[in-house]
């Protein structure tokens, strides 16, 4: 064999590898583009394996499989939120069809019964979809981890959301008896009975959630709810100021500038003469109804 032939022979396999690889990528892309979309019914098909079956099948890798289902749950919720029309809050996903979320979180917590973040996610996200499943999974967590006061906190949160303040107070009270539970758990029982639906209770609940959440999405949800509560307080103050203005002048202001001295005196955050919400967006003045509202582009949740 001449040296030229040898040189060509040594380059040939490399060339075949590169060309074949490029060809296979192009064909794969072509197939991807023409693949029919998976039907929603198929996408939402129930999980074939229950948590207990998977626990057996996963040998000693159950923690890893639990992590897999946990990450699938996050991707599932994230995907649904991205595909939703308009902004959606993590604790208000009832409008989205997410029937696989409860089974996935159930599997994750069965495979790893100490997976606290999964329980918290179930307590925050599931009530908007299926309250009973949220309660069942949280109670399953309590049965598996009787010394975890945080699970009682989650249970209290679920009951508080469904406005069952007696059960919420009971959950906080039971959690308060666990060694290591913070004193505010006991205080929550009394407060639930006295002022279950108040903003102060809501503020306390979301502040605790914000402190303890590991998942950035849950943390963000709690932060937005806290800002929403702050915005509600601000709007109450602004409404009072609008009443004062109307009493003094006899009509509603046409712009925020007209009542700038009142806004400044109330020490509300102001930009360009108008009050701004905790997200930094100016409030909308409704001169006809003499009211205030959030701007549609505001980052503060509307409901």
């Amino acid at each position: 064999m001449t040296s030229r032939k040898r040189h060509r022979a040594s380059w040939a396999p490399g060339g075949i590898i590169v060309l074949s690889l490029i060809g296979s990528i192009l064909v794969a892309r072509w197939l991807d583009m023409r693949r029919p979309k998976i039907q929603t019914e198929v996408q939402q098909e129930s999980l074939y394996l229950t948590g207990n079956t998977l626990k057996r099948m996963s040998l000693s890798f159950n923690g890893l499989v639990a992590d897999w289902y946990w990450m699938r749950s996050l991707q599932y919720v994230g995907g649904k939120i991205l595909n939703a029309q308009g902004p959606v809050q993590l604790d208000d996903l009832g409008q989205l069809d997410m029937k696989l979320l409860a089974p996935m979180l159930d599997v994750a917590t069965t495979l790893d019964p100490e997976f606290m973040e999964a329980y918290m996610y179930a307590a925050v996200v599931l009530p908007g979809l299926d309250e009973e499943e949220a309660i069942r999974i949280t109670r399953k967590g309590i049965a598996a981890n009787p010394n975890e006061w945080r699970l009682y906190q989650h249970l209290g949160y679920i009951y508080w959301q469904r406005e069952d303040y007696a059960s919420a107070g009971q959950a906080y009270s039971e959690g308060a008896t666990i060694p290591g539970a913070p004193p505010w758990m006991q205080a929550m029982k009394a407060r639930m009975a006295a002022e279950g639906g108040s903003r102060d209770i809501a503020r306390e609940i979301y502040a605790r959630m914000y402190q303890e959440a590991g998942d950035p999405n849950v943390k963000e949800m709690a932060r937005l709810r806290l800002l929403q509560l702050q915005s509600m307080d601000q709007r109450d103050v602004i409404r009072k100021l609008l009443d004062i203005y109307k009493t003094r002048v006899g009509k509603c202001p046409a712009s925020w500038q007209e009542m700038a001295p009142l806004l400044r005196a109330a020490q509300l955050p102001v930009a360009d003469g108008g009050p701004i919400d905790p997200g930094g967006t100016p409030y909308k003045l409704l001169p006809n109804s003499c009211d205030v509202d959030l701007e549609p582009g505001s980052s503060i949740p509307y409901k």
């Binding site: 923690g63 100490e114 950035p216 999405n217």
Partner: protein, 259 residues
Amino acid sequence: MVGRVLAIAGNAFREAVRDRVLYNLVFFVLLLTAAAIFIGELSGGQERKIIVDFGLSAMLLFGVFIAIFVGIGLVYKEIERRTVYAIFSKPVGRGEFIVGKYLGLCLTLLVNVLLMGAGVSLALVYVSRGFDPLVWTIWPSIFLIYFELAILTAVALLFSSFSSPALSALLTFFVFIIGHFSSDLKGLATSLGSTAARVFFTAIYYLLPNFANYSFVTPAAHGHVPGIPHVAASVLYALLYVAVVLAATVVIFSRRNFK
């Protein structure tokens, strides 16, 4: 005798290193690095737990493959290459040969497990942006994984002493799987009405290794440490089980005719 066993063990370790068995560490490190970097995006704040679950599970899986594929080749290759004749022409007993080979692979697995454990600890420091208590608390679990692998290596050696490599690998893998279903076997034995069936499943339960004793990865990811009595009993169980399996291997291997 101890000197001869150690010489064979050292040789088996060198052979494993020469066979590039420890190259799996490179793949492990790549996997762990990728997980540490990308898991943060997907885990919802559970990076530490996932790194421990992932790292220790990969350690067990890699260890199982080494125990099976290297373990079954330890004796078989010596017979296939006919080097076993050269060994037995010297004053080396068959029992010494088996025990030496076993200890050599255990040493390989120990180095492997220690380096992988160090890798998981470093990955934890990386994802925690500093020291993390899990860096220390995962080690008892790693210790238990090592003893699970030690049992599996002995089982692989037993099968390879009388069977072909492919069949040995299959049988050892079955033992690994069934060993994790031990509690089901026991449950089956107690729930059956027939005495013969109950005796059969109870016998199977005690004959096969109970790997559930060594499964502590999931609690370790939550910072739990197995109790000293549990670890001590599991180590004792492993030593006794390995003694039984190696003795059986020696008996079978001693009866083989190499003429």
